[in-house]
Amino acid sequence: MGMLQLIATCNQLKGMLFIRNKPITLVLSIAAIVFAFWWFFYRDSRLDTVMRRTGLEGAEQFAVFCWTTFTALVVTLVLSSLLQMFVYRRNARGEPEERIEGAYQLRYMSWFEALREAFRRRDESDAGTRHSG
């Protein structure tokens, strides 16, 4: 989650941020990453010769990384959307200069709003298709 906050603040994805202050987010996200590495390496000896005891094999490491990244992404998107709804209340929302799709919608809106926008666009597109057909 620290890495996702770092990405969000460096790429101005405001809809993904927990804290809207860039220096504070930078410091906290780097601290979270450093703490995560420190906790991992100092909680147990990861150089155990009996690998199965405290270590992970390559495939396990891949699965754990994918799962934790996915979980962190979902938690970040939901939590930041809730913060946008109840705390920031869209007071700092800027309008996009162009029609943006994908993750970069998060520069201008929260994930919940981006989802609503995507469904609205799909409904419009379906209505247009039916009308023309």
Partner: protein, 204 residues
């Protein structure tokens, strides 16, 4: 020729292993760099960062292609490592020179069981760097730093011979070239068919 390579490999390992235990700071750094977790996870974080990076659509598209290319390259390269491992086997340095096992290998890393040639960690890191480099030169060069450091730390730990590392690096780089020039362009065909099928079903 092969005997000459083995002789050079062993003399390099013996020279490097003399450094172990001389400096506590260097040993701590090598323990961290040789670890199975530190550099692979750091590289994964960098790939995640590259995915979101870019000022405009064209740059983001290029960066996302770089990430996808690196991920596909890693998968294919690990398959090639598995195949090569089953064809060609030779002992690890700590098996050829058992005097290094306790003071060097067990101190810096651990005695691994996977076949050493080609080095899978070298193949993984170079595959990632070369995969990204095909689409983003700057980040490809940045990723070259951990790509070099991790295999070097494994040589320091007497886990791999330098030739294992070079073999893994060559395999990773060639796989990245194959992925970006042949595999990824060929991916457009099934993707285009899938998009066409989805559009047809939706209109119907």
């Amino acid at each position: 020729m092969l005997e000459l390579v083995i002789q050079v490999d062993q003399s390099i390992i013996l020279w490097v292993s003399h450094l172990v235990g001389k400096s506590a700071i260097l040993d701590r750094i090598m323990i961290l760099l040789a670890s199975d977790y530190f550099i692979p996870v750091s590289i994964s974080f960098i790939l995640l960062y590259i995915w979101f990076m870019g000022r405009d659509f064209a740059e983001r598209d290029k960066n996302q292609k770089a990430t996808v290319c690196a991920a596909i390259t890693i998968g294919i390269a690990m398959g090639f490592v598995l195949i090569t491992n089953s064809i060609w086997r030779h002992p690890h340095p700590f098996q050829d020179m058992p005097q290094l096992l306790d003071p060097v290998t067990k101190y810096i890393f651990y005695p691994i069981h996977d076949p050493p040639f080609p080095s899978n960690s070298s193949c993984l890191t170079f595959a990632t760097a070369a995969g990204v480099w095909q689409f983003n030169r700057k980040w490809g060069l940045i990723l070259l730093v951990p790509a070099i450091l991790m295999p070097l730390a494994k040589v320091y730990a007497a886990v791999y011979y330098p030739s294992d590392i070079i073999g893994g690096a060559i395999l990773g780089i060639l796989t990245a070239y194959f992925t970006s020039k042949i595999f990824m362009p060929a991916l457009h065909v099934p993707v285009a068919i899938g998009v066409w099928v989805l559009r047809t079903l939706r209109v119907g």
